[in-house]
């Protein structure tokens, strides 16, 4: 009965992180071949084995083609027009301390609200910041070192902890895994490396902020987190990029390894530039994230809040190898304007008594298209595997879409799998109810959307839950009226 105009205008957004930092950069000319890979490897002073590892990945990548099965549409990417390495120039001889970091860079991080300096101490967050291709500063190294925790840029880990890197890099996401993962393996430039030793509970939240600044560059970061026996770590990554008319590629790989009794919590607040209201520009976010619960009673949980990017293609997954291991996936994905997201998870049950939980909340507005794609696979030896999946979609307006593609493969009869899915529209009745109580329309929308996402936000560290709620509100700004 009531008109839908209330909800229909829900499609305008100011992208607050859209500024460009004017900084001199050392950028490799566009194009990809073995020489470029050797050049990247040389710039990073990598050992021979690393160079060879990259080249093997590249040679395999050449035999692959881009996946087409995702429910997204975009112009083909010209991989020869992308520059595969860009580093702030002043950073050539890597900074030894924050004082040596280009003040303009620090200014950028300040604008983004990243606590690089002492504020970080208060927040208890250790931050690694990756700007275009290189990691510019890692805070709190000392305090972490006292606990035996290694938290450093990947390039530094290759140099200083080659044994750990060689043992684990590519062990969860092999160089041959998929098109984007192979590309990343060939050209990855930086990212974070974390090692938590046996029995250590990481004394603070670890955090990485990624920023794409230069134009025509791709960002290919590689993150590897290893939690040794009986250890615990909570890690958060945030991402932003300037507003640009052309599309930019971001193809990251994240690998997590949890050994016996270890727990890794990995949270992402992804706010890459989503393109403008007509769908021009924006980041292509083609990411492979996977965790292996190798030890008994190990536990990995992925929490993601995805509000940015023109296209998101991302399935943070858990391979539950150890008996009694647990995998969790909590996701809020929002698509507004012409954003497209095809996201979900894979839970592969291999060990006995393994458990997995999937909670996915998709919000579509404007012309946004949103797909949940999830696989729950129970192998023959996985006695008493349990999975619970819940996929809820919320539609705002009439021009957006929500799709659910659940795949279930069970090879063991003792498995118990539950799947629930709902699709609802943000009701004009709900809006009117809130407004009748004195709440403005915009506040009402953000209240209802936040309520819808509550189960997922509960999984984020407190301060980031607040940030995520605000981010959703900003992303839906002007959406009603």
């Amino acid at each position: 009965m009531a008109k839908n105009t209330q909800v229909e205008a829900l499609v305008k957004q100011e992208y607050e992180a859209g500024f460009v930092t004017d900084i001199e950069a050392d950028t490799v000319p566009p194009g990809l071949n073995e020489d470029v890979i050797r050049l990247i490897s040389a710039k990073k002073h990598e050992p021979e084995w690393m160079t060879e590892w990259r080249l093997a990945a590249y040679r395999h990548w050449l035999t692959m083609s881009e996946p087409k099965w995702a429910h997204v549409n975009y112009e083909p990417v010209d991989y020869q027009s992308i520059s595969y390495y860009s580093a702030p120039k002043s950073n050539d001889d890597a900074p030894q301390s924050l004082d040596e970091v280009d003040p303009k860079l620090l200014e950028t991080y300040k604008k983004l609200g990243i606590p690089l300096h002492e504020q970080a101490m208060l927040a208890g967050v250790a931050v690694d910041a990756v700007f275009d291709s290189v990691s510019v500063a890692t805070t709190f190294k000392k305090k972490l070192a006292e606990a035996g925790v290694i938290f450093c840029p990947m390039s530094e880990a290759v140099e200083k902890h080659p044994d750990l890197v060689r043992q684990y890099l590519g062990s969860v996401v092999p160089t041959t895994d998929n098109f984007f993962a192979s590309l990343n393996s060939a050209v990855f430039t930086d990212g974070s490396f974390v090692y938590i030793p046996k029995g250590v509970r990481c004394p603070m939240e670890l955090s990485t902020y990624f920023r794409i600044n230069a134009s025509n560059t791709g960002q290919f970061e590689r993150t590897l987190i290893i939690a040794d026996e009986d250890s615990y770590v909570s890690y958060l990554e945030g991402c932003t990029a300037p507003m640009r008319d052309e599309n930019q590629l971001h193809a990251a790989v994240v690998e997590l390894v949890a050994l016996e009794n270890a727990q890794i919590k990995y949270a992402t607040v992804q706010n890459w530039y989503p393109g403008d209201e007509n769908g021009v520009g924006g980041i292509y976010n083609f990411v492979t994230k996977r965790g292996a619960c190798r030890g008994k009673h190990s536990r990995i949980s992925w929490t993601q809040v995805e509000t940015g990017s023109a296209i998101t293609w991302k399935y943070p997954s858990c391979i539950l190898i150890g008996d009694d291991s647990v995998g969790e996936f909590y996701s809020v994905a929002l698509t507004n304007n012409y954003q497209q997201a095809d996201t979900g998870t894979k839970m592969v049950h291999i060990g006995k008594n393994t458990k997995s939980t999937i909670i996915s909340k998709g919000i579509s507005a404007g012309h946004g298209q949103q797909s949940y794609r999830g696989l729950v696979k129970v192998l023959k030896g996985a006695e008493n595997a349990r999975n619970y999946s819940q996929c809820d979609s919320l539609l705002l307006g009439k021009t957006c879409g929500a799709h659910t593609f659940p795949y279930i493969e069970v090879k063991n009869p003792t498995a118990q799998i539950e799947h629930e899915a709902t699709t609802s529209k943000i009701g004009d009745d709900q809006l009117f109810y809130c407004m009748q109580r004195g709440i403005s329309e915009e506040d009402a929308v953000s209240m209802i959307v936040n309520g819808f996402c509550k189960d997922v936000f509960a999984e984020l560290p407190m301060e980031f839950a607040v940030e995520a709620g605000k981010l959703l509100a900003v992303s839906l700004e002007g959406a009603v009226g």
Binding site: Y433, C434, M435, Q436, I439
Partner: protein, 250 residues
């Protein structure tokens, strides 16, 4: 306080209200009764400003303001409260949180300071007693999983917290068993005051056994066809609506 003049309103191009005249003063309780489809709920929705209801003619004055020019939230800020016939569920949004946002928006409009969590909770505790609300109910998501009776009770609880000047109760008695009806009516009676006007929209007389109205109006086919005191309600209970309709047709 409220003066409705020759109000015509339609929904999807169909005229439902066909010339309503009604005046209500502060401190008064009016009952609006009538058969199904007479336009009772349309009237309450028009007064609260629900989108989708088009006023085609007439005027509504509310405390020197042109009510029809105000948005729904502005009407709430000015002290209009609608107890919904079908309160909607809002999953994940805490009842207390919604009320705090609403009350603070109203206070802000009045130029009063916003309440902090402590002060707000003491108000909540005080008002809970009025309608015998359980604390666990207050802390749940708005109306989610509430029984019909609990939803109606929650409406009156919200009214108690927001302290409106004009409260419109849209079929608050429907779906209540006798015990729940007594509790809800008891709450409404405690909220009667010299400064507050209450409009009760109801199909049945039984609510009026517990809340005594100052005036009773019969709404039929989009018009108020008869006005009387509480004895009119008793007569309607006995004889049904037909005789009023017959009478007015002559």
């Amino acid at each position: 306080m409220l003066k409705i003049e020759n109000l015509h309103a339609s929904v999807d191009g169909k005229e439902i209200l066909k010339g309503i005249d009604l005046e209500i003063n502060a401190g008064e309780v009016h009952a609006i009764m009538g058969p199904n489809g007479s336009g009772k709920s349309t009237l309450s929705n028009v007064l609260a400003g629900r989108p989708g209801y088009d006023v085609t003619e007439g005027a509504v004055h509310y405390n020197d303001k042109n009510l029809l020019e105000l948005s729904p939230e502005e009407r709430a800020w000015e002290g209009i409260f609608l107890a919904f016939q079908y309160p909607v569920e809002i999953p994940g949004v805490n009842n207390v949180y919604l009320l705090k946002a609403g009350l603070n928006a109203i206070r802000k409009h009045r130029g009063e300071s916003e309440l902090d969590a402590m002060d707000f909770m003491s108000i909540i505790r005080e008002k809970m007693k009025l309608v015998d609300m359980d604390e666990s109910l207050v802390r749940r998501s708005v109306n989610e999983g509430f029984s019909g009776g609990e939803k109606k009770r929650n409406e009156i609880f919200q009214m108690a917290v927001l302290e409106p000047k004009l409260a419109i109760l849209d079929e608050t008695d429907s779906g209540l068993d006798i015990d729940a009806l007594k509790v809800v009516a008891g709450g409404v009676n405690k909220l009667r005051s010299k400064e507050r006007a209450i409009v009760m929209i109801t199909h049945y007389q039984r609510l009026l056994d517990y809340i005594e109205p100052d005036a009773v109006h019969v709404l039929a086919d989009g018009r108020i066809v008869k006005t009387g005191d509480k004895s009119l309600a008793l007569e309607l209970e006995k004889r049904g609506y037909d005789w009023v309709l017959e009478e007015t047709r002559v």
